[in-house]
Amino acid sequence: MNVDYIVERNILCRLRKIRKSYVLIGVSKCFETNDMGKKIWDSIDGKHTVKDVIDKIVQEYAVDYSIVEKDVLDFIEILIAVNAVKVVN
């Protein structure tokens, strides 16, 4: 996984808020995620690179780039493993 990749959501997957938690549904299992996971999920559009996603979050939350980079890359790797997103470039 590197930051130049562009990832696209599996259109079967969608995020729903169930009693104050975010739950990713549409793949074989449901996955609960947090606010950061939701932010990353919302930023994945099949057009922007992973770096764009990181930059957007860094800008919005004013946090250290390296921390966000690790969070985003880790989360996207999980999403790829569960077939919720795929790399398109």
């Binding site: 259109i11 969608r14 808020k17 939701k38 999920w41 919302d42 559009d45």
Partner: protein, 281 residues
């Protein structure tokens, strides 16, 4: 209470006493008027509703359903009839008092924080069939957006018993359920490259998604036809809402769909848009 109700938009008047004389209710019955003309004047969010062809809806809540026998439809829990008076057309719906109270009580008792209801289909939260449930929900919408004309104190007493929070929560959940019910069908059409079907169904889901969004913002409706108007009115309140309305318009009318690939892309974009809109609700 004014004895004459004026609908400025269509330059029409409604003589309340004449209307009550025409209906001849029991002394204990509750009467209120509702419908797009009333609603359009009651709330800035509903501005623009109702036109020269709109009927006025009259609701009667009674202890004695048998009293109203001269009706067009009798569905048991609700009777419906129609008449005209002084150039106005009226739709009349008659409900039984104890059934209305039972439904309101049932709605109040739903605990949306209870984990056990997560696996219960929204429609099954009530022990009513789908058609009755939809009609009672519509009734709740109407009573929220109505004006009493007979036994007003009793009318306000019923209104106070409605748990608005649960009414909105239920309808958010119902509309999201409708999205999820057809979501995979849209995906199936996309995968099968059936572009027109995918777009048509995706647009229908977009309306449900906006419906959920409206209820989440405490905006009520009981007919899908008003959803775009309500969103447009709401969009005048802030930039974020305006952005949602503009993106809805763009996806619906701002795209030039020339071939199947365009249809497929539009359907995919709509699904993403829906996901972003309702994942926050």
């Amino acid at each position: 209470m004014n004895e004459v109700m004026v609908f400025e938009k269509i330059n029409r008047k409604l003589d309340i006493n004449k209307l009550i004389d025409r209906i001849q209710p029991n002394s204990n019955d509750i009467l209120f008027v509702a419908g797009s003309l009333i609603e359009g004047e009651m709330s800035k969010h509903s501005s623009g509703m109702g036109n020269i062809n709109s009927d006025i809806d009259i609701f009667i809540i009674t202890d004695d359903m048998e009293y109203y026998n001269d009706v067009v439809y009798d569905e048991g829990f609700c009777k419906t009839t129609f008449f005209g008076l002084d150039g106005n057309s009226f739709d009349v719906e008659i409900y039984e008092y104890k059934e209305v109270i039972y439904f309101i009580e049932k709605l109040r008792k739903i605990d949306f924080e209870d984990k056990d209801i997560d696996n219960i289909c929204t429609l099954n939260l009530f022990d009513l069939n789908c058609s009755m449930l939809n009609q009672y929900m519509s009734f709740i919408h109407r009573i929220i957006n109505s004006k009493p004309i007979y036994n007003c104190d009793k009318y306000y007493n019923i209104r106070e018993q409605i748990c608005a929070k649960n009414y909105y929560l239920y309808n958010v959940r119902y509309n999201i359920n409708q999205v999820d019910l057809y979501y995979e069908d849209v995906v199936g059409y996309i995968e099968e490259k059936q572009g027109i079907l995918a777009v048509c169904l995706a647009r229908k889901l977009m309306i449900y998604a906006i419906g959920a969004f409206l209820f989440a913002n405490n905006i009520s409706f009981d007919r899908e036809k008003w959803i775009p108007l309500l969103l447009e009115n709401l969009s005048k309140e802030n930039e974020k809402l305006k952005e949602i309305f503009e993106s809805f318009k763009q996806l619906s009318f701002g795209v030039d769909l020339k071939n199947n690939s365009d249809y497929i892309n539009n359907a995919k974009e709509i699904l993403n848009w829906i996901d972003c809109l309702i994942s926050n609700l």
